[in-house]
């Protein structure tokens, strides 16, 4: 399949101009997490999924591979009309960190669904792989490392992925957690990161934490915040 992500507040308008039947793109007909089969102009068969890794209103379009060039020839001029641009993995990485969306950097094999903040996605009334393990005592410990957002106390400072998160009065040993991803956040104007720390946000509110990185950068004071650092209510995605 040829695939393209179309993301941003104008993404629906771009796709409305590219599909043969604009009605299929309305918020009512095509809600968040919906998937439709439709036709792009020129008769190109297409599936569109309304999903978002960037945190913006976003769609992914899928067409048979030989039609991928034709799809881009439709999408790109329409995107340009809205001052759109092509974006790559670096930009996507920055946006997903701002949004608190996890990747392989976070899901490293030690993390369970609740640690990653995804527990509500599991239906407790149905069987699923991992359901039995989820309730083992060690998986329920309150001090398990939980996904959190991280920002420097001095927002002019930067910090590194791979740093160990330590209580400010005990910067030694294995610490209380670790940082998995960092980026400069254009939306917030300073660096932000994702990571895991024992007990999650609730355990560290109002406390200064040290991101210890003695080999590279030294110690940076950071604040533990919600991983949903940008548009936490999801208004953009659901818009």
């Amino acid at each position: 399949m040829g695939r393209s992500a179309v993301a941003g507040p104008k993404s629906r308008e771009v796709l409305i101009a590219c599909v043969e039947n604009a009605d299929v793109m309305s918020n009512e007909n095509f809600p968040f997490m919906g998937v439709i089969e439709t036709t792009l102009k020129g008769g190109i068969p297409c599936r569109i999924a309304r999903i978002s890794f960037s945190g913006e209103l976003a769609f992914e379009t899928y067409v048979p591979s030989d039609y991928a060039p034709a799809m881009m020839e439709l999408l790109w001029p329409e995107a340009q009309k809205h001052d759109g641009c092509l974006y790559g993995l670096e930009a996507l990485g920055a946006m997903r960190i701002e949004k608190g969306h996890v990747t392989g950097a976070e899901l490293d094999g030690r993390v369970n669904i609740d640690d990653a903040g995804l527990g509500k996605m599991a239906n407790a009334d149905k069987p699923f792989i991992g359901k039995a393990m989820r309730n083992r005592p060690d998986q329920l410990r309150e001090d398990r490392p939980r996904l959190v957002g991280i920002k420097p106390v001095d927002t002019s400072q930067t910090f590194n992925a791979g740093s160990i998160l330590c209580a400010s009065n005990k910067v030694s040993g294995l610490g209380e957690g670790w940082i998995t991803a960092v980026t400069h956040s254009p939306a917030m104007g300073h660096w932000v990161g994702l990571g895991f720390i024992a007990g999650g946000v609730e355990a560290w509110q109002g406390k200064t934490v040290v991101a210890a990185d003695p080999v590279r950068k030294g110690n940076i004071n950071v604040e533990i915040i919600s991983p949903h650092m940008y548009d936490p209510s999801g208004e953009k995605m659901y818009g």
Binding site: M1, I44, P64, S65, D66, P69, A70
Partner: protein, 186 residues
């Protein structure tokens, strides 16, 4: 309907390359591949096979490692329980009998013919392609440069079905290695 764009577009311009005055190999990509896979279950395979034979206008069913060409298309037995239909779309089956998959855009088809086609391909594929072992109608799953490919010997020559994402890379290797025989891109 917009035109389909091949994975080889811009890299398969017709013309002669390589050894001057000699054309031992002819490479051609048939346009707009129509390729569907049909996978049957053990207790439905006979019924599904006969249904596909009727669909392509043939009187018999392709057995393992072979193909049947009918008036409307061809059926290739690419795996014990699977056929590929070339040139004709698969019908919908009850899932209890068979499941179908449209592979038309997932493979790039290249037909290799010419006097040196057998020797040329043997530099890419670990198969005995001589007439006695791989006659017209034969089908094999193989690999070249660690990429899984399907080979079918049709009336037109040796037909390679390559995964689309690797097709351009494999094509460049095919063309360059065909230079020694003299190659015509048809």
């Amino acid at each position: 309907m917009v035109d389909r764009i091949s994975a080889l577009a811009g890299h398969n311009a017709p013309g002669h390359q390589g050894n001057p005055g000699q054309t031992g190999v002819i490479l051609r990509e048939p346009a707009d591949l129509v390729l569907h896979q049909v996978a049957a279950w053990q207790d439905s395979i006979d019924e599904v096979g006969k249904s596909l034979a009727r669909l392509i206008g043939a009187k018999s069913v392709a057995g393992p490692c072979s193909s049947i060409t009918g008036s409307k298309g061809a059926m290739l037995r690419i795996e014990p329980m699977k056929w590929w239909l070339v040139g004709v779309a698969a019908p919908e089956f009850d899932a209890e009998k068979a499941v179908t998959l449209d592979l038309s855009h997932s493979r790039t088809r290249v037909c290799v013919s010419g006097d040196d086609a057998c020797e040329f391909l043997n530099r890419h594929l670990p198969l005995d392609l001589r007439e006695a072992s791989f006659p017209v109608g034969a089908v094999a799953s193989s690999a070249t440069h660690h990429v899984g490919v399907t080979l079918w010997r049709s009336q037109d020559g040796y037909e390679l079905f390559m995964p689309r994402g690797f097709a351009l890379s494999l094509w460049e290797g095919l063309v360059e290695s065909a230079h020694q025989f003299g190659v015509e891109i048809a």
